[in-house]
Symmetry: C2
């Protein structure tokens, strides 16, 4: 389950709460496209903005509409007590795995982050993905901490930030040597995903796949078949999209893409987050059309 | 109310929730010392780690035990919807003002932060302190954004990060010129508080005052009386404390000081936050004794 393409759908929200119909539609779309797993309530799914009841409901909807595709559910929160409750809710909803980032307000020490994973894995029944997302958590994992956490029970995969092309193979080999064979390494950072997969990453935890599974699958399946050139070329074809990600942030861009494709309404992000201004939405619509994204 | 010394108490927690007796004791201690205001549920009060019911309860306890000292209550949360609910709860609890930081997971744009303050002040009945705490929110205010927000109704004060000695007077004068006269400027960053007060800041939003009101009052009252030398000397006397803040973080240090003084139990921070390791707690206890802090 923790190999291949994991797609992170938006959790569209309106004034009235989660737009359940749109969310179910996104999940169904991903299952139909045959991604390898669906990660509901990742950063793209706005997990820390939702309350416990909303998150339990989204987890249930995801499992219900994913068919036979395994669903991983994000359980991150600032406080360990809340993470433990969210882990229970995710498991009750039928999640096949959970995803946990060290969400921070006060900067956390390495021992505190280890303690969090220790406390959570101690009472878990499903596998866990360690979610290293320094852009949102502002916590920096060391390799030593990865290795310590990877020895904990139920730890199945580590979602690492993107690795730069020049050093990707060495980086992944070094990390591989540190971790138990049972723990997969998955890359995030969509613009560098082809690089990571071609360099030996076993999984891609993908923002774009949550809204546009087809182009993400094209990259993943090529890399998995050993056709590095096709994976790289397909990623290169999407460069205008990666440029938008880098300029406007991946969340706001996929939110606008999903709007343009009629998959979600407007607005669909939890306030204070707002969608892109009109001019930028037009730029996104233009890229969607030029690249024939759908 | 938004001038002088505002003291930020810890909200001590244990496995069983808020340690209400210890919290009430801290608030009473501050009122007895005659600080100018008490800010409950600031960063030192671990506001984002507590749930809505805990925060409403802490707000009530603070007002109840503060006597005639005005109480400001922190209402920050990731989602605007939650901030609005917390604002209602704080006002119902009898808060004289509220404190709001742009808590972030996804990085916020200036327009999103302005929108947050616009939405919250629109339905507020008490004054609001804008809480600029880049160390925890990872959001950087521009002066232009300060000025835009300061024009909103109910905005009474801006809590700015510490200003360095060399440029303090120019910095505060420049900011003063940008803001309506009714909006006070308060400094945070305890080690630079004497510098800020001596350079014209009207308030000190203080971590240390929440646990040790006396030395903070000594600095504040000297600066207010125009005795810059005494304010600076008193702050200099506390240098071993500021060194601990810089090495270990102010929250964990005041948590340990409060333990050493018997004001709170151990542990008293919400997991995954942990108190200092034993060796560091001994270093804190040593400074408490050497400086005769109480």
């Amino acid at each position: 389950m923790f190999t291949g393409l994991s797609a992170f759908p938006l959790t569209p929200v309106s004034d009235r709460g989660i737009d359940e119909e749109a969310f179910a539609g996104l999940v169904t779309r991903l299952a139909t496209a045959r991604v390898d797993s669906i990660t509901a309530l990742g950063s793209t799914g706005s997990y820390p903005y939702l309350d416990r009841a909303e998150r339990a409901r989204a987890a249930r909807l995801a499992v219900e509409h994913a068919g036979s595709t395994p669903v991983i559910v994000g359980i991150g929160a600032l406080r360990t007590r809340d993470v433990l409750e969210l882990a229970e809710d995710a498991q009750e909803a039928g999640a096949s795995g959970v995803l946990l980032a060290p969400v921070s307000y006060q900067a956390l020490t390495a021992d505190e982050v280890f303690g969090l994973y220790e406390d959570v894995t101690a009472s878990l029944s499903v596998p866990l993905v360690v979610y290293d997302n320094p852009g949102t958590t502002h916590f920096t994992f060391t390799d030593e901490l990865y290795a310590r956490i990877a020895e904990l029970p139920h730890v199945a995969s580590i979602k690492i930030p993107g690795v730069q092309a020049a050093a990707a193979e060495q980086r992944l080999a070094a990390l591989r040597a540190l971790l138990p064979p049972s723990v997969t390494i998955g890359v995030s950072g969509d613009p560098l995903a082809a690089t990571g997969l071609n360099a030996g990453s076993q999984a891609w935890y993908s923002v774009i796949a949550g809204t546009l599974p087809e182009p993400a699958l094209a990259i993943t399946r090529a890399a998995q078949a050993g056709d590095a050139a096709t994976a790289a070329a397909e990623s290169e074809r999407l460069q205008p999209l990666w440029d938008l990600f880098s300029r406007l942030g991946s969340l706001r861009v996929v939110s606008a893409i999903a709007e343009v494709l009629g998959l979600v309404g407007h607005p669909n992000l939890p306030l204070p987050l707002r969608g892109l201004p009109d001019g930028e939405r037009a730029a996104v619509a233009d890229v969607v059309q030029r690249l024939d994204l759908r």
